[in-house]
Symmetry: D3
Subunit: 289 residues, 6 copies
Amino acid sequence: MFSPAINRFLDACLDEDIGRGDLTSAVLRGRRGSAYLIAKQSGVLCGALLAQRIFQRLDSGIKARLLVAEGSQLVEGQRFLELEGPATALVAGERTALNLVMRLSGIATATAALVAVLEGTGVKLADTRKTSPGLRVFEKYAFQCGGGVNHRLGLDDAAMLKENHLAWVGVDIEDALKAVRNSAPWPIRVIVEAETFEQAQEAVKAGADGVLLDEIAPTDLKILVPKLRKLAKIQNNSVKSGQVVLEASGVDVRDLSAYAATGIDMISTSVPVTRSPWLDMSMRFDLSE
Amino acid sequence: MFSPAINRFLDACLDEDIGRGDLTSAVLRGRRGSAYLIAKQSGVLCGALLAQRIFQRLDSGIKARLLVAEGSQLVEGQRFLELEGPATALVAGERTALNLVMRLSGIATATAALVAVLEGTGVKLADTRKTSPGLRVFEKYAFQCGGGVNHRLGLDDAAMLKENHLAWVGVDIEDALKAVRNSAPWPIRVIVEAETFEQAQEAVKAGADGVLLDEIAPTDLKILVPKLRKLAKIQNNSVKSGQVVLEASGVDVRDLSAYAATGIDMISTSVPVTRSPWLDMSMRFDLSE
Amino acid sequence: MFSPAINRFLDACLDEDIGRGDLTSAVLRGRRGSAYLIAKQSGVLCGALLAQRIFQRLDSGIKARLLVAEGSQLVEGQRFLELEGPATALVAGERTALNLVMRLSGIATATAALVAVLEGTGVKLADTRKTSPGLRVFEKYAFQCGGGVNHRLGLDDAAMLKENHLAWVGVDIEDALKAVRNSAPWPIRVIVEAETFEQAQEAVKAGADGVLLDEIAPTDLKILVPKLRKLAKIQNNSVKSGQVVLEASGVDVRDLSAYAATGIDMISTSVPVTRSPWLDMSMRFDLSE
Amino acid sequence: MFSPAINRFLDACLDEDIGRGDLTSAVLRGRRGSAYLIAKQSGVLCGALLAQRIFQRLDSGIKARLLVAEGSQLVEGQRFLELEGPATALVAGERTALNLVMRLSGIATATAALVAVLEGTGVKLADTRKTSPGLRVFEKYAFQCGGGVNHRLGLDDAAMLKENHLAWVGVDIEDALKAVRNSAPWPIRVIVEAETFEQAQEAVKAGADGVLLDEIAPTDLKILVPKLRKLAKIQNNSVKSGQVVLEASGVDVRDLSAYAATGIDMISTSVPVTRSPWLDMSMRFDLSE
Amino acid sequence: MFSPAINRFLDACLDEDIGRGDLTSAVLRGRRGSAYLIAKQSGVLCGALLAQRIFQRLDSGIKARLLVAEGSQLVEGQRFLELEGPATALVAGERTALNLVMRLSGIATATAALVAVLEGTGVKLADTRKTSPGLRVFEKYAFQCGGGVNHRLGLDDAAMLKENHLAWVGVDIEDALKAVRNSAPWPIRVIVEAETFEQAQEAVKAGADGVLLDEIAPTDLKILVPKLRKLAKIQNNSVKSGQVVLEASGVDVRDLSAYAATGIDMISTSVPVTRSPWLDMSMRFDLSE
Amino acid sequence: MFSPAINRFLDACLDEDIGRGDLTSAVLRGRRGSAYLIAKQSGVLCGALLAQRIFQRLDSGIKARLLVAEGSQLVEGQRFLELEGPATALVAGERTALNLVMRLSGIATATAALVAVLEGTGVKLADTRKTSPGLRVFEKYAFQCGGGVNHRLGLDDAAMLKENHLAWVGVDIEDALKAVRNSAPWPIRVIVEAETFEQAQEAVKAGADGVLLDEIAPTDLKILVPKLRKLAKIQNNSVKSGQVVLEASGVDVRDLSAYAATGIDMISTSVPVTRSPWLDMSMRFDLSE
């Protein structure tokens, strides 16, 4: 199901490339053709559903058939989307569709590689709000396609008290947490970012739903995590929020295993979004038809 | 000068993050503060002008002062944008502004590294249409900030005949080129993508404004380029378009120097856009105020 | 802080009333004037901040001063917003501004009346997704101004498994809950709507973050609630989500006190949104100036 | 016929509820189902055509069949819209569709109740510009579905000189009326709001197309109306506009009959829009399929 | 007062010309300058207010001063708008501002020439709905600036029964007129287009607010008009709408005087919109600064 | 192929006319009908494809069949578009569709008349950026339908150094040209506007891609053009851009033949856009069905 907002976004992407019109398509007017999208390297497919819709937004007469399910592992040379329709529309949608599916598959592939490291540990990999402006929902979707877990999608589906919030207002964590809970919708979870043992403990005592332990070494976390769990258990009887989710951030991804061994619930990282290459793909035109 | 379209885009980026409202800002209501953006690693600054405007779109009362010019080399720890205004707006704009300036500075930095390789050769580095959907003008701007040259921005500011155009219509390059010139605005250049010696020569004979030599090895290019130059000189008297721009694409960036030595005019690459990490930056809040 | 989305919404409201231009304003061209908004009956003020912004969107030269804080109790005849500027703009913004502030103050006032009934019980009043299309964030804001607590704002900031979800897929609550948790961002709470004792117990056992007890009589709830609490305590050691929020819905507001006495955490109701009259207000023009 | 503007509005309503995606629909992916909308209390149906279109905007594959004509009287339990399609889309459109049809049917039902009081009197019931921001055309349509007559829809389809226009410019009614007529399109009617006998008479003499008699008691109106009719007849020979429409406003709806007996043409009221409860309805999912 | 819709329209016009950025402005970066708009031929000024706003939308730092009131007669060489600000913005707004003010002043000038022919006859010149798509309100405003009277601005501010409406439904004028009045807002006037004596008479009898006499020769109109006036007087006692406005359309503008002598109230024509040349103007840059 | 931007534009045109709804269509509800568009005078057809799409945007159930290809010569009375569908939609789209096709066919017809004058001379007729705001791509398309060649479509698909650019920055043509080339995408052509022999020569020497010779008499051009050609030939060996396009502007269209005889490549004119009448057309309703 595509929300109207997603349709509008795909339209805007097409308009960005087409501008005042595809000048080269003059030679193709009136022709029909077929084509397919193909992976030029192996990786996790993500965004093929969007690529399919991009062509259909351009011309509702285009037939577009998905050959591989979103989130599947692609091998080099594998076709994943077949197209048939007016040649001008196929050519005009090519770059926009490829750009989106290559970008998202790149993120999904990079995420899957990190998730593989955590396999069997029970620790989850979460993303962040570091995403390309305008592409938040899509890049988060790619992270999920790669086996990761989404963190909040915006400033409005979870609250997170950070260093700067606390420093600026000059209140302690408990008061800040109460202030946020009082104005947020009740199902909203409130997370506290902690940079020290003391802050982390204060956050758990105050009943935070999650504590984000930022830039704390695995060796230190190993000591801190059990303390926080114990504290949470004690709090559990008197404070509303129940068990706390402990999350490590500011993590060098080469140390994932070390972090996973600390007893943490989750490791959040922007790496698959901010440092992954696109997955190479191309669109081939079928001359036999 | 910001076109209305750019203002609307920045608004959309803010709305993407803020959604139905910043839930955490409850603790900051009524406070004012100051902050600055800072580089956490060295690189080329790009997008600070946009970051500045993002905050001003959110609240016209925010004072935002650029400390470093766009395109400058930043050193680790360097501040480049100072802000002062309502705390809620500073916090609400933080992620959106950082995401844009980090992404664009990452591209500019990666571009600059490749441009440095070409220094003194007279060969230019050009970008492609492989850009994140919705961010075309910004990512192209970043490529330019890094010292690269922009290729066409869309399907409407230059024409490019590709393999598939030619194959589909079954006409030769000369006829296709004429068809495009007949319908395009006269100042539009027409480029032909060639994958073989024969295609390249045919394109030059037909008076193409540029020939994109795709996936041809440097050793082969060294032979081909002078031939095409000679051909172009002969054509020059009879054909309208004059001298042809020769461009290599499908290049492994580790071979940049070898390509530069072939006599080519330009090397186009998507690498700084599709494979570069974001430049690390952050926003610090000034507690002294 | 107004997000760009809110500014655009206020613009759309103005355009809805002004259409192709205010025909009557011909007589006012070139005049300046002052005016104020006034309550014609007592109630809770909500939306004056939006009314202020409406006038400023129409003409940035309008001075608009709030005299009363949002959420305050207004007495009949009390002025709450003073305006000064071009007469044509004051008149053109009048109806749009009044419609918004009257509607929202009506909701806030009705909410406050119900919240008063619950005072001292510790039970909270929550709203629903039954809101006027297009006005969701504003009507939810009004509910909060009246002392209520917001429930989820949309389909994306909390999950709620309803009868129909379960019936259609033919899985039990536990499996459905897992499926939702697996794809939702981790901070998202999952609520289960229960219409029977069995469903409610199954939901708690499955680790739901909240159980919405729909159309269950207070006398029955009094028996059910302690059982669910006990069950939750047992679950607490083995299931991630911790304590469960118990919410009654489908409540006749005349029975609020009876429901509050059942030990429930929260009562959700659409009544202040779907059944409240607007608060009567008007805009007066100051002839002395 | 739906104008593009209406389609865009319905899209915006869907996006408001769906936000970044329906989190609960994960359990329904790939399923199809059927459902129907049903009245939970009797009243006048209004907005079912819009509800039908809402589902079709979300997924063009949804089959939606209206069982009852707009404006019909519904009995409790009556089905009025049948749906069949992908389960995720049916569930995602449910709340938006219901909110619109419940709100509009509430207005239509409340209007019909007042119109019934006027039956046989020849006096019409008109609405006002007091409508929920963003919903003007829909709420006015509901008023009409309930048997009422629409007053002007905005500031641009009729002109109305109010107290404040006259006071501010310091001209008499005749001059103001001329000024408006001179700049308005010729088919535009000009109405004058009168709060006293003198103003009403002046308005008629000046050739107003309508006089809105605001907050004048029925007993006074009974004297005033015939005088104005007589005056209008005299004017009829010399002034362009012809017969004047006399309208009472500021009316307590409990006094409708008394007002109807004054000889007035029309009574305008915002009550069905600003004070009516939503008509209770729900969407049921058909498990047998 | 500019409605938000007008601001958005001006933004769209700027974006249409600027596209992905003004390529030539590279040479002007950082410079400030002054300029003025000037008439290169005499005519009626219209749209200078919009030109002023266009520059201000592009850069709020531009100072723009109107030297001549809208609707004034300009002489060749006369300056009407002075500008001062960043050179890049002045140059980027030039073409858009000129295109609008030249087009509108062309219409105003052509309208004024026809209105001059009717001077002293008491007959008004009205426009039509034949306007450039997207420019309706502006071209109608220009018609008014030239001394003309606006006819309805769209399908929603007056109703007009045309030949095709009547033929298709197979009802007589009286029934059709009633049907329209029953569903239209009460202040809406209903006009009937008549192509024969019989239709015109039927329309008057049925109480039409206006009759549009299409393609009827002046000699025939001279006979018809008095008959219709007489008929209208008789109708006046029994029918609601009062006096009828008689309008000639399908008029060759060379015959304006002959039509004016028929006793008609109004002549409607699309000529100033569909056949007028733009008024020549240009923007000059002041080198002394 | 229609880009999403074009669909949105056509929607906006429909909304402009329909506004809050077509009041007259009440009489047509539920009827179906057929109709056709017809030329009332001979000329070149342009915009019928857009007219067809306009009806389909309003109601996807309308069948619309083009009878004549875009750019064809129409004779008086010729039908070019057949329609069948709901009567309300046919009537609601009528004016918008006609306005667009009449305006564009008027431009195409006027262009064709001028192009005919140049026939056999090898000189091309180019348009300008003087186009109705909002209609740029459509009016340029009409110019091409009439046999003309499009000049740049905006400020971003070619660069043009004008008098004011040069004067303001105080640099010579060569430096300005370099500055523009350095920041523009490489395929962008740079044109220089010259008002004197000296400027023209300097432009050619500097390697301009085109020189626009503004308001230079044919007798002078006859001397200047060969000089510039010779200069270009010399430059050809050392400067990148190759042969220069020489274009005359500021031309009185009565002198087209004289200009064509000067050896110029192209004559640019805004006359078909700024001075052409609309081509008369109408929509007829087929009563037999």
